[in-house]
């Protein structure tokens, strides 16, 4: 019944083939209504506004952007937790934009999610064993009697003590809870795991433990990650490819190293320059691009290039009137900007010269 073709040869990361996930012009608008009985639509939030993205098997694609740029909404649209307003989502070449019922359930077996807040994403009234075992019971992939041993294997895999099977979430620390979330996401051996800010609620020393765990699991099970975070150093560490989002659109996408060495979009440059570096001398040399103001409202996004009201390089009227398309720069690097940054122009800001 399942819709996947599993015997396909895995392309090496970077090699083309059918992408595991392919988004074409995906949009998600949330209506704003007024009125109690008769609801009038008075506007809409352009949360995700036309995103094209391809994720290949075995790759990690990082998605970065400020609060409210639509990265979490995009993740939920991919997971089919929100219906897309427009556009198409393909999973292994199959259109899943409107999958429902049985197809959708089969699909969910292949796509799982790890959430940001390990305190809110675990039911406090259930034991860890039943939280991790829940996917088995829902999808009936393991018979009832074997669930416990499967769960204990998973717990061991993610570095939890299997003897803690009957404990409750409050008995665990933040890092351990995030391990429970990882075990639950792994239970059905999915192909894609969407990680929505998986480490931002954790202490730095514990973040490293979880990042290493995710790396090990990727190697062991050939997982594909869509890794959402606002911390660029973390995204750089884990991702093969990084997409930068601003107000519902991808403004730049590039292989990790070239994005950091050679950002093209002024927004990427500003984001990179704001990242603190744990080294006072290098930090002191760094030239910061301070962005003025806040992200504009996605209800009525600015015309032309959405970044123009805050952009230090904006030229008028071009940037205000014409929306820049994503154009190729270097190998695999695309940016949407009329006046992109020069090569290595940021050498002294993003990286030490």
């Amino acid at each position: 019944m399942s819709v996947q073709v599993t015997e396909r040869v895995e392309p090496a990361p970077g090699a083309k083939g059918t992408p595991l996930i392919k988004l074409t012009g995906v949009k998600k608008y949330f209506p704003i209504t007024r009125g109690i009985i008769i609801q009038h639509k008075i506007g809409q939030v352009h949360a995700v506004d036309g995103v094209d993205l391809e994720v290949y098997k075995g790759q990690t694609v990082g998605l970065v952007g400020e609060t409210g740029c639509g990265k979490s909404t995009l993740a939920r649209v991919i997971m089919r937790l929100y219906p897309a307003t427009e556009g198409q989502i393909q999973f292994e070449g199959q259109d899943i934009t409107h999958a429902k019922g049985r197809d959708l359930r089969d699909l969910r077996r292949n796509m799982q999610m790890i959430f940001q807040d390990p305190y809110a994403s675990l039911n406090p009234r259930k034991t860890v064993g039943s939280i991790i075992g829940e996917p088995f019971r829902l999808h009936k992939t393991v018979e009832g009697g074997k669930i416990k041993s499967e769960v204990q294997q998973l717990m061991e895999l993610v570095g939890l003590n299997p003897e803690h099977y009957n404990r409750f979430p409050h008995e665990f620390s933040g890092g351990q809870r995030q391990r429970i979330g990882v075990a639950r996401a792994l239970a059905l051996r999915p192909k894609l795991i969407v990680c929505d800010e998986p480490v931002s609620a954790l202490d730095v020393s514990i973040q490293a433990q979880i990042l290493n765990l995710l790396e090990d699991l990727q190697e062991e099970f050939g997982l594909t990650y869509l890794f959402i975070a606002h911390d660029l150093s973390v995204v750089r560490h884990v991702s093969d490819q990084v997409a930068v989002m601003y107000l519902g659109k991808i403004v730049e996408i590039a292989p990790g190293a070239s994005l950091y060495r050679n950002p093209k979009h002024p927004y990427t440059g500003a984001l990179l320059s704001a990242v603190p570096i744990p080294d006072p001398d290098i930090a002191a040399q760094k030239k910061r691009i301070i962005l003025e103001g806040d992200v504009p409202s996605p209800i009525d996004p600015p015309s032309g290039c959405r970044f123009h009201p805050r952009c230090p390089r904006a030229q008028f009227p071009t940037c205000k009137e014409i929306e820049p398309p994503l154009e190729p720069f270097h190998e695999g690097q695309f940016a949407a900007c009329h006046f992109p940054l020069e090569d290595r122009a940021l050498a002294g800001t993003a990286l030490p010269a």
Partner: protein
Amino acid sequence: MAEPLLEVKDLKVHFPTEDGLVKAVDGVSFAVSPGETLGVVGESGSGKSVTFLTVLGLINRKSAKVSGQVLFRGQDLLKLPVDELRNVRGSKISMIFQDPMTSLHPYYKVGNQIGEAIRAHQRVSKKEAFSQAVEMLRRVGIPRPQERASQYPHEFSGGMRQRAMIAMALSLNPDLLIADEPTTALDVTVQAQILDLIDRLKQEFDAAVVIITHDLGVVAEHCDDIMVMYAGKPAEYGDRRDIYYAAHHPYTWGLLQSIARLDQEQQERLQPIKGLPPSLIFVPPGCPFHPRCPYVMDVCKVEVPQLLPANGHHASACHLTLEEKDRIFKEEVMARR
């Protein structure tokens, strides 16, 4: 160096609970001088927040056993009666909390909330307090402050709320500002703005600042001195060059190595600190860090290391000899960074 503004001597805060005595803070000493920024770094549960809540007298004196001295301009705040302490708190020492979403009252206009803080300490009319609030909002860089002051917190973004909190904290021109994880809930771009703002205001108001954080990256640019805390005790204390370029404690090394760095070319594996922070009821005997320490020796399991000065005011609490510390830091820690 100038006369310290705040001097904490051997502060201990213990909470008796049903499960046992929680030694949240267990012998912390430090000093902050005017115009200086002290960074306090440690994991969740290392006692960094409790230390400063105690300085402010926000710990319930009935439920906690507090000992030691908290000298503010030579006056022991721990011995001060509650109403006198209230005069110090807010006007002389003020605090910014981690979560700007929950520390503003959702029912009151932002301007009135800031005005309330002013009116608690100064005899001014509501109108006068409100206009002072507007002026403060302007100084922390909020555009259209007049309009913004009559809005409710939900109309502010996260960064704006944190600015409003800073405006409130600085409205009485305090001598000491304590910022407890001021940027943890914020985006990197906003984080950079807020830290710069704190730096600028420190000079404008000639105040001393304490920044509490779990991320060594955040404090690299902004702190003069850094205290690393572990299990309620200071593990290492020094100026920032000591901490970043000559750290002496294995816990500090672990913190430095576990950060994913943007300016690193090689995609090496991160080196996390193994294990978890200890329970503060059953603190391991000897050095509290020994179960997680890669350089553990027999003496570490029995004897509590004292915070011993190495040079100047750089001090660390570790049984390794000074030569070993220098060697390990150079060969193993710096080499991997």
